[in-house]
Amino acid sequence: MSMPFYVSPEQVMNDKAQYARKGIARGRSLCAVAYNEGILLAAENPSEVLHKISEIYDRIAFAGVGKYSEFDALRRAGVQFADVRGYQYSREDVDARSLANAYAQMMAHTFTNDIKPLEVEILVVEVGMTAAEDQLFRITFDGVVLDEDHFSVIGGEAEPIADRLRESWQDGLSLGDALRTARAALAGDDRTIDPHALEVAVLSRANGRRAFRRIEADSLAELLGS
C-alpha cells in the first residue's frame, strides 16, 4: 500500500495563490472611479461583446478580470442572487454588501476546497443616493473582501494603477474628467489606450431606477475629446 506524500497546508495555499495570481496577471486591468453623478467603470477590453463590466441590479454593477468563463459564471450567479432576493423581499433590500459577502463565501470555499482556485478578481459596486453612500467592494481570488473609497482597481497591474489614481483622483470629477483620469491611469505614462479598446459603463444617479448604462464607442470618443 502506498502512502500519499505529505504536503504542508501552507505549501498548498501558497501554490494555489501563486497559480491564481499568474492567471489574473495575464489579463488587462480594470478600474472603478467615483465622479459627481455616480461611479464610472473602465476596462481595457478589445472585445465589444465579451463584457468585463455588467449590470447586476438597479444600483449595482459587477466587474471582473482574469479568466472570462469563471467571472462570467460569478456574474450570472450574482444576477440570480439579486433578482431572487428582490422578488422575495423588495427591490430596496438588494445591496452590494450582502452580494459581496455571498461572493466572498463562494470564492473562499473554492479556494480552500477545490484543486484549482478561481483565476479571477472581481468588483461589486453600488451607487448610493449620495456620493457618501457609494460602495466599492473588491474581492480577491481567495475570497478576501476589501471595502474601498473613491476608486478601486483589479487585475495584474492593480498596484501601479491605484498609485496613479491616488495622485490624479479628485472629489467631484465630471464624467469626461473621470473618464480621462481612468484612461490615463490604466495606460500609464508611456502609451495611450484607443477608445475602441476601452469598455466603459456608468452607474449614474441621474439614470432613474436602473442606474447602469454602457457608454458606446462613439459617445466615448466624444467624451474623451471634449
Binding site: 460569478l74 450567479a77 431572487v84 432613474g208
Partner: protein, 298 residues
C-alpha cells in the same frame, strides 16, 4: 449564492428550483375555505380589473385603461392601475382577477429584466410575447378551479420590425396577434366598437390618444364595472404611449384635459343647456406608490 443553477435564463424556473412556486401559491392561498365565497359558487370574492385597450398608430402604440376594480357588484378600488411598463419598449395591460394579474405582471417584468441582464441583450418582441403566453398558461389551474382568469394585453414597439405590435391572450395561453387595435375586459366590446369606427392606418399620436379616450368613455357609459372619468376625486384613466423612444406615461393633466373637452363636446352635441360655469378640473389625485415596483423607469 446560487451558482450551479444551470445556464438557464428562466426566472420562474429559478424560483421553482429554490422552492418558490409563484403560480401554485395563488391556487392554494385562494382555495382556503375560510375565505368568503360568492353566493352559490366556490369562488372567492376577489377584485377584478375591467377595461383596457391598445391602439397601433404611426409611431407605435397607445395603451389605456380605466381605474376601477370591482368585487362582485361592489367597487373594490377606485385608483387601480392596469397599464404597466414591461420593459423599456413594451407594456402590459391587465383585465381579470387583479391579484393574480398583478403577480403575473411582476413576474413578467422580472423575467424580461433577468433575461436582459444575463444575456446582455433584451428578448425579441416575439420572445416577450411567448414568455407572457407561458405565464398565462401556468395560471390555467387557478383560472379553471377558481375562476381567477387573467387576460393580459401585451403591446409595444418592435425594434426589429420598426412598428407597434399588439398581442392578446386567452386563459389557456393562446397567443393572438392583433393587427391594429384590441380591447379587453368587461367593457372591452364597447371600447373595441368605438375604436373600430375611428381607426385608420397611420393615425397621428393626437388622434390615437383621442380615440382611446373616446373608447374608455363609451365603455364606462355602457358597462357598470368600468370606471369613467371622476372629476370629483380627480381620477382619470391611465394612458401611455410606446414608441422607439420607449414607454412614456401621459401626464395626468393632459388626460384630464382631454376628458373635460370630450364631455363638453358631448354636452354641446346633445343640445343640453349651458351649465353654470364649472370650477377648473380637480387636481388629479392618484396613488402612485406601487408603480415603480419592477417597472422600467425609461
Amino acid at each position: 449564492m446560487s451558482e450551479g443553477l444551470g445556464g438557464g435564463t428562466d426566472f420562474v424556473a429559478l424560483l421553482r428550483s429554490l422552492g418558490h412556486d409563484p403560480f401554485g401559491t395563488i391556487v392554494s392561498a385562494s382555495a382556503d375555505p375560510a375565505r368568503p365565497a360568492a353566493a352559490g359558487t366556490n369562488q372567492p370574492v376577489v377584485a377584478h380589473g375591467t377595461t383596457v385597450c391598445a391602439i397601433r398608430y404611426a409611431d407605435g402604440v397607445v395603451m389605456a385603461g380605466d381605474r376601477r376594480a370591482t368585487a362582485g357588484n361592489l367597487i373594490a378600488h377606485r385608483t387601480m392601475e392596469k397599464i404597466y411598463p414591461a420593459d423599456r419598449h413594451s407594456g402590459v395591460a391587465i383585465a381579470g382577477a387583479a391579484g393574480a394579474a398583478m403577480e403575473m405582471v411582476k413576474l413578467f417584468q422580472l423575467q424580461l429584466e433577468h433575461y436582459e441582464k444575463l444575456e446582455g441583450v433584451p428578448l425579441s418582441f416575439e420572445g416577450k410575447a411567448n414568455t407572457l403566453a407561458q405565464m398565462v398558461r401556468s395560471n390555467l389551474t387557478a383560472a379553471l378551479q377558481l375562476g381567477l382568469v387573467v387576460v393580459p394585453l401585451f403591446a409595444g414597439y418592435d425594434m426589429r420590425r420598426r412598428r407597434g405590435r399588439i398581442f392578446t391572450y386567452d386563459a389557456t395561453g393562446g397567443r393572438y396577434e392583433e393587427t391594429d387595435f384590441q380591447a379587453e375586459g368587461s367593457g372591452g366590446r364597447d371600447a373595441r366598437t368605438t375604436i373600430k369606427l375611428g381607426w385608420r392606418e397611420d393615425l397621428p399620436r393626437e388622434a390615437a390618444v383621442e380615440l382611446a379616450i373616446a373608447a374608455l368613455y363609451e365603455a364606462a357609459d355602457e358597462d357598470s364595472a368600468t370606471g369613467g372619468p371622476d372629476p370629483v376625486r380627480g381620477i382619470y384613466p391611465m394612458m401611455a404611449t410606446i414608441t422607439v423612444d420607449g414607454f412614456e406615461e401621459l401626464p395626468d393633466a393632459e388626460v384630464a384635459e382631454r376628458f373635460v373637452a370630450l364631455i363638453e363636446r358631448k354636452r354641446r352635441e346633445s343640445g343640453m343647456p349651458e351649465p353654470p360655469p364649472a370650477p377648473p378640473p380637480a387636481t388629479p389625485r392618484r396613488s402612485r406608490a406601487t408603480r415603480s415596483e419592477g417597472g422600467d423607469a425609461a
